[in-house]
């Protein structure tokens, strides 16, 4: 019996040590599974729910970190400045249009999709907000701050839908 167990263990050890390294076919060139570098940090203002909706108010939405030092203006950052100005002025349609303009330039920018989701949320366009938020979620990779903010928004949207 002991000999049998010794034999089994020995076989396992030998099998475990065997090497399989003989790659002959390259994988199709899908981009390597790298974690994308998050877009330059952009200050996304917390947007309160539309005043026409009944209480209770949503959970505060986390704010992404502000940049530590000034970065050169990019097309997206200059558009985001205009988005924030439009939103601050209450012109949500224009804010959304400018967000979409930025998205055409940088379509895989999770921050931009999140920005658009916030505006749609404030416009009470719940489905559109959820779509944009989920898209942001699919692109946020391991940006924990942004992921938390998106999830908060999605929870709020879910509760709004439930109400």
């Amino acid at each position: 019996m002991t000999a049998r167990w010794i034999g089994i263990v020995a076989l396992m050890v030998l099998t475990g040590c065997a090497s399989n390294k003989a790659v002959v076919r390259e994988p199709a060139p899908v981009a390597a599974p790298v974690v994308p570098v998050p877009a330059p940090a952009v200050v996304v203002p917390r947007i309160e729910p539309a005043p026409t909706l009944p209480p209770p108010p949503p959970e505060p939405l986390p704010e992404p970190l502000a940049p530590e030092k000034p970065v050169p203006a990019t097309p997206v950052s200059s558009l985001l400045a205009s988005v924030q100005a439009a939103v601050a002025a209450g012109d949500l349609d224009r804010g959304a249009a400018l967000s979409e303009r930025a998205l055409r330039i940088s379509p895989r920018d999770a921050q931009l999709w999140y920005q658009l989701a916030l505006i749609r949320y404030r416009q009470n366009r719940v489905e559109d907000a959820a779509g944009a938020a989920r898209r942001a979620l699919s692109m946020a990779a391991r940006d924990q701050v942004l992921l938390a903010a998106i999830n908060t928004l999605l929870q709020e949207l879910a509760s709004k839908t439930a109400r």
């Binding site: 089994i8 060139p29 899908v30 898209r135 699919s138």
Partner: protein, 775 residues
Amino acid sequence: MTPRNASSGRHQDSPGPFRRWHISRFLWLLLLLAVLLVVYRCIWIDRKVRRDFEGLQWALPARIYARPVELYAGVHMSADDLVDYLQRLGYRRTAKVERSGEYKAGGGHVVLHSRGFRFWDGVEAPVYADLVFDGHHVSTQQDEHGADLPLIRLEPVEIEQVNPVTGEDRMPVSLTEVPKQLLSAVVAIEDQRFYRHHGIDPIGILRATWANLRAGGVVQGGSTLTQQLIKNLYLDREQTFRRKIEEVVMAVSLELHFSKEQILTAYINEIFLGQDGNRAIHGFALASEYYFARPLGELRLDEMATLAGIGRGASYYNPLRYPERVVDRRNVVLNRMHDLGEITDKEYETARKAKLQVREKPINSNGYPAFMELVYSNLKRNYQKDALRTEGLNIFTTLDVTMQSKMEERLDNAVARVERSGHKDNPLEAAVVIADANTGEVRALAGGRKKGYSGFNRALHAVRPIGSLVKPAAYLTALESKKFNLASVLADQEIALQQPNGEVWRPQNYERETEGDVYFFDALQRSLNLATLDLGLKLGVDKVKQTLIRLGYTGDAQPYPSFLLGAVDMSPLDVAQVYQTLASSGFRSPLRAVEAVTTAAGQPLTFYGIETKQVADPSAVWLLEYALQGVFEHGTAKTAKPVLSAHLPLAGKTGTTNDLRDSWFAGYGNDLVGVVWLGHDDNQETGLTGATGALQVWASLMHAIDIQPRQVPAPPDIKWDQIPLAPARDASRRDCSATQSMPFLTDAMPDVGISCEVNESFFERVIDRFRKVGQ
């Protein structure tokens, strides 16, 4: 003779004073009545002129614009493409850029001065920019002081107008928007005493009469600008005395109630200056765009004099048809301006010697009929045709004119290269849809193989079986279920299926061979019918149909097994919708051609905007895409690799239908999704598979428009593993001496008996083996 007769004769011979008084009174009454009638008519005319002129509003056509070009460092655009775009906008090439609407190009630079434009989301100010190009990209863009410009949006190209029923088109402008020299030219040649008369000009009439008598024919008109305006607004071409009188009354009435500036403004917008097919060109602003392809503010003196001169007879003095005649007329205008001291000697000499430079034939003279059908289809949800014909709306579409041109220029030849001979009377037809992969905005569309084809729009209406284009729906269903992964082994073997009508269906692979055990990813890449049936029947056909519906299919095909091999009819536009959803990682954005609509004054009316809805698991779509990229590497699209070498990796799928009646290819890169269909309108055989027909056309077009490689980062729940090169259903047949790397969902990894992974720790492998032995 009776007394009565005698009496009557006496009365006729010598009427008495009483009777004369009666006649006289009757005549006076008649005269009074006539005067009253004339006065009444004058008052009526006066009120009408005043009322009409106060409320003067032209029915304005909707203007339809293509997508504007956005410029920023890194944007994908060559200097040649930018110059082509500027020429479409009528920019003038100069040695030194000083004014808006000018550019210069050379040495890897394009320097331009944009005009500015009111878009749906705000006003874009004019800007001077010096752009440096690095191949097909803008590397830097700076203003005249050397400061970086983050973003420039150029004006959009106008692609069509929806003209009023009258056929009149115009671009109303205020007097302040009209160059002073153009006003001087108009007044000088049409009505020198405009600012001094009261609607009619007796001196002008005498002068014209004298000039005409001396010349023995009509060489000069005596009508004032006011009379000409009246004629244009109210009267027809009838030249009767009564018309002339009414014209005079109306002109005087107009002058009584309105200022010279108001009258001149109406005149410069109303005057007929040309005919473009069934579209009448009215007003100087539109004429400037029509003849010189640039706004009034950018015209040179000689061009202004040309426009002022053709007002006399727009057909006779058509600058596009009779350039010499028009130059003579222009010089008459310049001469008159010079005589009146409106221009200096130097200006006169320079303008007189200037060459007439009318616009070239429009770059796309056939317009964009196939795309416009989609635009109208999108608009009809919110706008009635009447609103488009009268309100002067600005409609901003998603069309990329550069991409559309490149596609149209190559399509016919690309189709001809794959077309089999013997179909001279029944040519192979084509449809193409190219859309933004991320937003669903349609960038280019062809309803037929010929450029500007305006007949049956196959891109929208040719609803045909899609063949193997349906297969990704089955494979996605499987990946989402997590019961399958890319290394699952499928059975590619003969099968007999009982159909609802009792007949037995024995499907085959295209090559009429069976492959036995094949990997999941390989079956998709090589488009194996029998392996797909094996998979689809395990999943359930209805589940696959539901996936196709999630991706964008809107039809009601029956979920028979043949559905799995493409017995489902769709238009190229519908197919593009399905593949757009895949290209955006499972987020469906309805394909659309309209971005926004604004009023004539630029106030936003409707934003269409990006809609996006998650309809599939992004990680499962990413895995599916891994297999679809392999279609170009190892699968049915590998013949396109040489043409697309600079653009790979790309993802795509071929589609062929029974008896080779339809040849399809659908594929996508980072930026675009494109669908090509080839077939005959009468459903004859094409002799082409998806790979030998549509794929070749697709590759040619995508190379021309420089599709961007597909590079999507793996989602966090993807893990790579090694699997044997040859498929094995269990550990006993596994041969790890030759392996390949494959991505998996972390919760749908390959069975440990299949995996050849060596990266696990020794301890993990020992545990795995122990577990296996235990099993």
